[in-house]
Symmetry: C2
Subunit: 360 residues, 2 copies
């Protein structure tokens, strides 16, 4: 079994890499074979602090880990502005790519990453963990069930978190040369993904940003929102912010059903999570209460969602490595749609809240 | 005690009057002394079917009940387009006025109703029941608590219900000559009221309607939404529709707290209802779950919210009738703010989704 484990190298020791290292350790079909940072010392300290296998190699440069022939795939939690350079280099070095979100500063950059992946025949997946939770599959089943949910009419999502002053002055996510997309790239990414999930990944046709986005002195978005419109009349809105108490809601309304969830990105509990689903909910005769209410659905998982993500990524890499399969297009396609909508919202903000049309 | 009960007359036998008749019967300080319809038979049938006191008089015209000197106050569930005529006449006849929502077709009409009430010295209250539930007071306490909630940043509300084809072809709420405001007047009213509650009744400065409102062949709104903006950066959105499964959510996000509720207008249960309140909710260290989650608050009430509304209305009428007090301005002020925002959204739709400035 050990020789069939997918050998993953970690490119960059960002805070989020702690969680993903644990996830790779938990995934049954992957292992960490190497870690790299811009300094050897930082990489060694990360390896020691995060329970990496003793066999894991420690590199003091990103180039070095990408040149290691034992590395099958890389997890890359670098700042967004560095994605183009390093993701393309990783793909050119035939490394399958698990890339942090947002995948790029814009879809043009992302397309260059995808082109590099395609021409090297490597798998691409972004690190949006919650879509790999079995709860998400159960939610999607509900949303796509014409009997229980009907047709989507409206979906509303939000993700806010209360950044402290240290974060707002120093974190990479508020720096124009690192994560220039700010709260839109970080929190908005999840909101948009949830909207796309509810729309069964049909792209909206138009995006209009809300007024009053908050930006910092460098022009990085700290808070914004938008409305999205489909041709058939479906509407969506989202709100994302570094300036509000931790909140992550979806309310999706169909012709026959409603879905509510309050912890869609990070479930309250790692191994058990819930959502509320109502079908033909209705009042009693005198409208003094509900004759039929939403029902709580609880889903258990042995592995946390981030380990399920790694397991799925490593499974696809195995199929390519050992069975000569082609890369799975589903994941890069979803990433690209998310980035397309994100770009449209950003453009709408830049153009004074004009309507922006979205084309594949 | 009996002689101090406020004597209420019901002007119109709409379906909602069944619920309000029960509420008046339940309220300890009010009684139904008369009912009227455009036909004597219909009024008599209503009285028999709804447990009205045997002493209640039955009138075959609205004029007759308004001229009855025993009637202290009227409950008026007439279609919105009839409010101006009959509410003004009621006030001119010195009847205190409990008026169905939306209170008028626009604020200009509503101001004429308020002028009539003021010049007659009668109490005005609209029949928005949920704000009288003790749960709403508990939610307002949370929302106004700078320690538990901080300052409001964003509030998102929706109210949708799935009207059947009979409703969509025949109900007064889709008829331009009866309830011309459609879903905006009926469902949107509640969404706007909840947003105002979260904003501690501070009026937004701007309203922008969402694209894609759905209207019927007569131009009556069946579905619409809007975004609202305050000068300090607070933002709100709402969505209201006759075309989606029954849903009524509030998500209010403050700098320190979050409120979630799924049944804000009609609680799931008449005598016990809940909301979720989170304060400084946060992830665990590795962001694999929440170290601090929202907490469920459950509030009991002996009387249903509509009976508490009647009790409050009758209490204010008693103060005026027996203690020579002045009418309470709080309730008409809140009604007027709700109508002002509603008008702005309607104007934005009419002007092709332009921004509409809101002035008191």
């Amino acid at each position: 079994m050990a020789e069939t484990l997918i050998q993953i190298g970690i490119v960059g020791c960002a805070d989020i890499a702690r969680k993903v290292s644990r996830a790779i350790n938990l995934a049954p079909n992957a292992t960490i074979c190497a870690v790299s940072s811009r300094s050897q010392e930082k990489a060694a300290a990360f390896a020691a602090a995060n329970g990496l296998p003793l066999s894991a190699k420690v590199y003091g440069s990103y180039e070095a880990i990408l040149e290691d022939p034992e590395v099958d795939a890389v997890y890359m939690p670098l700042p967004t502005s560095l994605h183009l350079k390093w993701a393309v280099l990783a793909a050119q070095n035939k490394k399958h790519l698990l890339l942090e979100k947002p995948v790029a500063l814009d879809v043009a950059q992302f397309d260059r990453i995808l082109e590099a992946c395609e021409s090297s025949g490597v798998q691409f997946m972004d690190n949006t963990m919650w879509v790999h939770n079995p709860r998400t599959a159960a939610m999607a089943n509900f949303l796509n069930d014409t009997q229980r949910f009907g047709n989507l009419k409206s979906v509303r999502t939000c993700f806010t978190s209360a950044a402290d002053s240290d974060y707002l002055s120093r974190n990479i996510r508020v720096k124009p040369d690192l994560d220039a997309l700010g709260a839109l790239g970080d929190h908005g990414w999840y909101c948009i993904r949830a909207i796309l999930l509810a729309a069964n990944y049909e792209l909206p046709k138009r995006a209009v940003a809300s007024y009053e986005p908050v930006v910092n002195k460098d022009g990085v978005i700290l808070e914004c929102g938008a409305s999205l419109y489909w041709e058939d009349g479906k509407v969506a809105t989202f709100h994302c912010s570094f300036l509000g108490n931790l909140t992550m809601d979806i309310t999706a309304i169909g012709t026959r059903g409603t879905l509510h969830v309050h912890d869609f990105i990070i479930p309250y509990h790692e191994k058990e999570s819930s959502f509320l689903a109502g079908t033909e909910t209705t009042f009693d005769d005198l409208v003094t209460g509900w004759a039929k209410q939403p029902i709580k659905h609880t889903i258990s998982t042995d592995l946390p969602q981030e380990a399920l993500l790694v397991k799925e990524f490593a499974r696809l890499v195995s199929e390519i490595k050992f069975k000569n399969s082609k890369p799975e297009k589903k994941w890069p396609t979803i990433s690209r749609k998310t980035q397309l909508v994100l770009d449209a919202v950003k453009t709408s903000i830049q153009r004074g809240f004009e309507t922006v049309h979205i084309h594949e």
